[in-house]
Symmetry: none
Subunit: 194 residues, 4 copies
DNA sequence: CATGAATGAGACTTCATTCAT
DNA sequence: TATGAATGAAGTCTCATTCAT
């Protein structure tokens, strides 16, 4: 039933990002998104199943292009260390370049209902798998140690970057995320211990 | 006006944890919490300002006792490495011992409105400061390196543990969190690199 | 946001008059008014800000058309004495012709909250000014004495008519208000003294 | 069951006047009145049937002593004109001397529910009868005309004085009501006409 | 007599979704 | 395709009253 493509499909998603970033998740009513997208309320239901579908699609579109970008970039890099650096860099760059998207995915969308969060989790999984691959390459190429569980490491990597972005937003995006790339990478590689 | 202490105060908070864990944040109506606590709806308003206040108080009480426990435990430990291990252990133990509380603080309460999330953020800050102190001790005692920003390290530590717990809940608390303590500690200390 | 015009706008106001007249101010719930107007509860909020706005609009619409009628009628009359008679007549006729409206404005709406009463007071002010003009004309044309304060006279005129209508309602509108026009006019003009 | 006399009975009524005058009818909760009277909430129910009974008793006590004062005063005066003047004077003086009582009886209590207003109406009736007697005396002594309906005149007298006090309160009791006695009397006796 | 903690019924308002045009 | 007016379910909080102490 829902069209899921076309000019208005994108207009609605982009309007949703702007509205949620500006007003917050709980004040982002369908009618507000429709007005921002210059369509009628009902039109949204020609392109999306329901409101949740708008949010999930939003995350899917943005995350999809992000993952695609990451995969393309990592393919060109052979060193797992450099891949890890690039992954951190792209993750931070992507959100630093679009504050609104950062606010939406990092803060607002996490207030959504279990249904939406579940779907978001599935989408995120693909990204986590990319992280896994980088770790595995490092281990295989004997550049990383092999005495850790890769899932634990993956949680460290994702959890740290995620927390970094959240902190940055909470402090109103006042400093540069790019400056964090190497410090984070160094901690990932060498830890805090001597 | 609100009493904020007494037998029923605690009964209501505990009922709120159970109800939110069972039904989810959006299905945790005041009337449901009241019934679970064996009090009348109106009684809740003798002990709390409003529904938000119940949620904030819940987080405050639980987090408060957790932070207090952590501080007490760390005081008895001189080695920053062991302090860090104990911090990870207590964090994971606290939530592993109370699955319901874990679900509420880790998943459900994050769906709450900005007002509540803001207050929760302030409460969390105290915990982050404890982490900071451990890091600083490690640096001062020259057991940790000094070429990293302590805030970056703090975000790694908190972000990693937080992501670990969230993953664990998402997988229905099927494995033991305690087994993660040392692996996480090792990553914090030595990183993934060789 | 609220539309404030249209077929349903009027239907809701008229339904409100009927419901308040029948059940009283405190038993005139939004849902009851909606049902009486054959609209959904939510529809009321497409035409009015909130419930208070319905009540204020009700008074404003009815009083507005009344004042307009009075002004039109008085414009056609040159004699202040006849103007005064017409004013009394219209005031009584208007409410005698619509018992429900009489009950609502005279009895029920006076139980409303301060917010509503304040707005009602402002609307009433316009009517009091019309009374003032009649008095002033009478004085200027030397048909009325000039040794009284016009505000005192205005309070006499309004207070007397108002009390007359209230008494009439309290006695279940059993007698004719029209019969009171000349007796009241005569008292206004000549007082009780010889 | 309700005691209806005693030190606390009066304390509660006086507290009710103060609370209603200060906070308004809709913010005058039983608990607030109890606190103001320095008694427990439950104590009020030892002296009054319910909250309505407090309000009715309040009006009854205050109005009762007022009517009694008026009757005593009028008994000492033989001239109906002077009786009328004294009635106006006492009515205005009584309320000018107690702004809080004026606000409560003139504004706030009129927002009460039909039950209370009905009882208040019955109490008021006695006062209206006093006015009737003055009019009748005037007519009998041929000082007043006899070509008017005494009920119409009574409504003029009560309505005018009532409106005068209400206006005065609405303008924050800024001017002296006593100055209005003779102007009002003159209008009652001679009207506005020449 | 006095207390005051506890009760629980009841209503305004929002907003995702539909469907006649 | 597109519109947008209309729908109606559902939840927080207040406060008069009670009754065990």
């Amino acid at each position: 039933m829902a069209k899921r493509t076309g000019e208005k499909y994108e207009a609605i998603i982009d309007a949703a990002v702007r509205v949620i970033a500006k007003y917050g998740y709980h004040q982002a009513q369908v009618s507000k998104i429709a007005r921002e997208a210059n369509v009628a309320d009902g039109t949204i239901y020609l392109y999306f199943e329901n409101k949740d579908d708008v949010l999930i699609s939003l995350f899917n579109e943005k995350m999809g292009s992000f993952i695609s970008d990451v995969e393309t970039a990592l393919d060109k890099i052979s060193s797992p260390v450099e891949q890890l650096r690039e992954l951190i860099r792209l993750h931070l760059a992507y959100l630093e370049n679009d504050h609104q998207l950062a606010i939406v995915t990092q803060i607002e969308l996490r207030q959504s209902n279990p249904e939406v969060r579940k779907k978001i989790g599935l989408i995120l999984k693909k990204y986590l798998e990319v992280i896994d691959q980088v770790i595995q390459s490092g281990v295989e190429q004997q550049l990383f140690r092999s005495d850790f569980d890769s899932r634990t490491a993956r949680r460290m990597i994702f959890g740290t970057i995620d927390e970094t972005v959240t902190s940055w937003i909470m402090k109103d995006c006042k400093y540069s995320l790019m400056d964090q790339v190497d410090p984070i990478l160094r901690l990932f590689l060498g830890g805090v211990g001597k």
